[in-house]
Symmetry: C2
Subunit: 628 residues, 2 copies
């Protein structure tokens, strides 16, 4: 079935210092081709500050490529202020309006500190789930929310999903919002992301993730998805992109035709999917159809092999998937952009020029992070010169890029100044709400999303109003934290609530990550080697979610056995899970009602603070050294 994409009425072009028009027509072939590349840069100013020098171009190479006509840059690293300076710098190096983009899927603050860092999308998706998972499912209330239009989920979520125990004891039970309210949250999420991205100088948001996360072991999508079922993912991804594009940025539906049902990481290898076309129509494609119907400006391809569509080539390089399925069958007329061509799934099989040429031939308009930008340009130029690639194909891509840019205007921004009136968020220059990086409404949204997505094991101790909240027995105790890596961990600054609050209660922090001495005993029944850790009651805090390059979603670690071990010894004082709902759901059945425990999909300090509030571990005077 072909769906004609609806034009987006919300993309209003701001004034541009460049004459947009068809100005590519006067360029030489090499510069025309270069426009279709999107290269990678650090958001930091100097080469020495690059966090990933293997992937991030030096300033000398960046300037040379931009002067040579390269038309886009993807940015990672640096604070919001640094990003704003960087966007202006890059735009000033280019002789044409750039596409500047970033993977700001969970708010701009996920990548650029100082902006709003929101809970992952699946937090909202779980509010809309047809059936609440886990033990509380049986007690779920009947549907109460209204249907939310053609793309709404088949069944609305129950009005209250909190488990019965906590619900009747909690003095302020959380009302789960109706379906329309969840959709509204997703749209505000998009507006917040789009407005802040635009303010800092980006004009292209690489979201929403349109993958349906129906495989809890997925190491790379996981909580980045908007839903675990097609209807939820469709409704919310479309709402997000309507909100973001209304703020004057382009969005990008990814990863076509759907990366949700994989258990391997395409950053490391090429996943294969055996699904039939019928199954794709039922599960993977609906969110992309919804995004196209909502006017999404671009679609990003996935590096995965769909045996039913093309047994030879991954979607990114497959004419059957891009020209056939996406352009012809789904009727997408916007920009098709590859996922990063430097990923192992591609580079293990194709050289840098060959990969770019194959992607372009398959139907891609923009080439993201070619392994070698010059080689990619060379290969495309040679193919057009030789007639192997029709010149009209190039012109069609340039035309699409021009149209997209005309809708949003060129990139580039100025760093907003902090406003002392608008604590704790950055604010704007006096009185101009448009220059505030984080508006009061956005700060409230970030908090509301954490509050709504918190799940609590009951009963909570804060119900006793006569005594101060106190979830933890008196210390000395052990604050045992599991995380992927403690090095440069964005959610765990030295003063993070997950560190500071337990310390205030006398609990000594111990961090377990991939680089720590082993905490494991080798005994499957009692996996934690307790003699290697500080003694006393244990606050267990697990930061687990699917992250690229980790090779897993963390599900292979023996946390259920550890919880049982600590309970058997009478040492488990409280439990906090940040990130993966699947880990939380595997631990919930083990917990007695009396154990203070909670889950939040977000891992950022705000999530820690609000979750620990709910466990009765309130903010203490913030400790810590100040300087030398």
């Amino acid at each position: 079935m072909t769906t004609e994409p609806a034009p987006s009425p919300e993309l209003t072009p701001p004034a541009s210092p460049f004459a947009p028009g068809n100005n590519w027509r006067g360029l030489g072939l090499r510069q025309q081709v270069a426009r279709l590349l999107v290269v990678r840069a650090s958001g930091h100013a100097s080469d020495g500050q690059r966090r990933y020098p293997r992937w991030e171009l030096t300033n000398a190479d960046l300037k040379r490529l931009l002067e040579g006509g390269v038309g886009g840059v993807i940015l990672l690293g640096g604070s919001a202020q640094e990003l704003a300076l960087r966007c202006s710098q890059l735009q000033s190096w280019a002789g044409q309006p750039l596409l500047l983009c970033a993977d700001v899927e969970e708010g701009v603050g996920q990548r650029f500190e100082g902006a709003s860092w929101l809970v992952p999308p699946l937090a909202i998706g779980r509010l809309l789930q047809p059936q609440p998972p886990g033990p509380q499912g049986a007690a779920a209330a009947p549907s109460t929310g209204p249907r939310a239009g053609a793309t709404a989920p088949a069944e609305s979520f129950p009005a209250a999903r909190a488990e019965p125990g906590a619900q009747c004891l909690d003095p302020e039970p959380q009302e789960r919002p109706p379906a329309a309210a969840a959709e509204d949250l997703a749209e505000r999420y998009g507006r917040c992301t789009g407005r802040q991205a635009r303010l800092l100088g980006l004009n292209w948001v690489l979201g929403p993730v349109c993958d349906v996360n129906n495989n809890p072991a997925n190491p790379v999508i996981n909580v980045r998805a908007w839903g675990e079922d097609p209807a939820t993912a469709s409704t919310l991804a479309a709402a997000f992109l309507r909100g973001a594009q209304a703020e004057g940025v382009l969005c990008c539906a990814k990863h076509f035709p759907g990366h949700g049902d994989t258990s391997s990481d395409s950053h490391l290898e090429l996943p294969r999917l055996p699904h039939s076309r019928a199954r794709l129509e039922a599960v993977e494609l609906p969110p992309f159809r919804a995004a196209i119907a909502a006017g999404v400006a671009s679609v990003m391809t996935a590096h995965l092999l769909l045996e039913a569509l093309d047994g030879e080539r991954p979607a990114t390089l497959s004419p059957a998937v891009l020209d056939g399925l996406l352009r012809r069958d789904l009727g997408f007329e916007g920009l098709i952009v590859t996922d990063a061509l430097v990923m192992e799934a591609i580079t293990a099989h194709h050289g840098p020029g060959e990969a770019a040429l194959l992607a372009f031939k398959a139907g891609a308009d923009l080439i993201l992070m070619p392994a070698d930008a010059d080689a990619a340009i060379d290969a495309l130029v040679a193919a057009i010169d030789s007639g192997a690639l029709p010149r009209q194909r190039l012109e069609a891509s340039l035309e699409r890029r021009e149209r997209a840019l005309a809708a949003v205007g060129p990139a580039g921004g100025q760093p907003p100044a902090p406003s002392p009136e608008n604590d704790p968020a950055w604010g704007g220059l006096s009185g101009d709400p448009n220059s505030e990086l984080v508006s009061p409404a956005e700060a409230a949204l970030a908090r509301e999303l954490v509050d709504l997505s918190l799940e609590i094991n009951g009963p909570a101790l804060w119900q006793a109003p006569s005594s101060p909240p106190q979830a933890l027995p008196p210390g000395p105790g052990l604050n045992l934290i599991r995380l992927d890596s403690s090095l440069a961990c964005p959610f765990l600054p030295a003063m993070a609530p997950a560190l500071v609050r337990p310390a205030g209660a006398g609990y000594q922090s111990c961090l377990i990550d991939s680089r720590s001495p082993s905490p494991w005993s080798g005994d499957p029944q009692a996996p934690l080697a307790l003699e290697r850790l500080p003694g006393g009651p244990v606050l267990l805090q697990l930061f687990v979610r699917g992250n690229p390059f980790r090779g897993s979603a963390g599900g292979e670690e023996p946390w259920p056995a550890v919880v049982s071990q600590l309970l058997a010894k009478g040492r488990l004082a409280a439990l906090a899970v940040y990130g993966s709902p699947y880990l939380w759901e595997s631990l919930r059945p083990l917990l007695p009602d009396s154990l203070p425990a909670a889950y939040c999909p977000g891992q950022m300090p705000l999530a820690q603070a609000l979750l620990l509030d709910r466990l009765g571990l309130a903010a203490a005077a913030l400790e810590g050294g100040f300087t030398d």
Copy 2:
């Protein structure tokens, strides 16, 4: 003996947008008093980005205090670009020229990423040492360097201090510079620091440390000092400040009258020193006399109790030390600034208003980081109103502040833009060398300082030119790293050479810090519990130096026993020590000549890269993930 301070001929006032003059005379008393405060701010833009919220004022409080006349801010946190934006912001909130300062003792890049991060001062001091310490002392060459004037060390350092083994095998033996060259290095160190500080908007560098580090267990001074003997510390501290003040910033000699011989940390408690006045004259005071003779603009007081001078009050609050010793005996006419009054050594004994008043009465001009700025102002205003503090005393301090500011001009800067021509350092706007954050000469200085201060155990394997350098046996192996804290560790970004290079050789990183599961067996003869760590040959990398708030200089950990344990098992493949010379000197005698091992006083990535080069572990393709 009284030394009249020489006027500094190198402080040339830049053009100021403010009329300097005696403009404090027209102000009300409260505003006059407020000028003498220096409060603490984060270098980050937003309140939510503060790393130490207990110490760093919110933007609302900062703006209120600056509008109320507070005259100085000490900054910590953020990158060089963020600092520049922040300095301009703070200056714009104030109605008068501010003093903006930071503890940039080891280059501006020590605190603000993107600027030059230099080896700690003691690296240069050790080049000038009368007797090289440790086993290589006996083999030291005779003195060859010229005397360096009145403040030169009593004996010049030997021309080559590298141990004989490595020296004769090294194809490029390091020539140790003569005394004058070491002094020149210290002056260039100061110029680099002063120029970059000024460019970013600071006008006050809180250095040089003038303490003589003659106590290897000193937990807080250590490698921050310029020397382990009075002559070296005097020569080099004076050279540093001449260089820095010539670039248009004020310097600060600290911590008067000398914090080098303490084994406790005044951040945590009040150290007591039993030294006689004669001993102070011989050891502690010479560097301060030298700094005053060189025209240092300010002196910072120490929070320590000198029983011979004042048995009741710490130096910061003692009229005998400040008015008596510093002003009268040493003849210092510049600004006296307290060390931070929020430190436990003060707050454990005095309230915030009382501490500020006592310091001022004792002779301080500027009050750094009062525990409560409003209370400090209240107390000083009340004391003047009541006549308990003479108004002339206030006016003398205001006059000194005015004179100092007139010499350097107000603070505030603009972020330099990166120059792609000047890789890998930040460069300036095209063609203007004054706007480069890191000049080519400064980048070369940072490298030269590391090269000169590297110490190598021999023989090195790079002497075999026919085969590629390879210090490590083939992996899998263990890269065992000791550090204070892996959280937000500035010298260990995820792509740090100390992590990436061993990984390229098949060595798995394991990090031991204060928050890791215990790696200790409890057996003093074999302290490392090897079964908790990955197997294979071991590259041991120890990042150890005195750091405030750690309570020790790391000397209590059993690293000599670990080295013996690994050697006995045949598992020690190589050793790197970054930071403390005392740890290195305790390990050197245990090492066979054949073991690749090296020491650098610096811990930053540049030090890691050059040290690992010397161990034959050359840069490999930088690995690592790029994005989601």
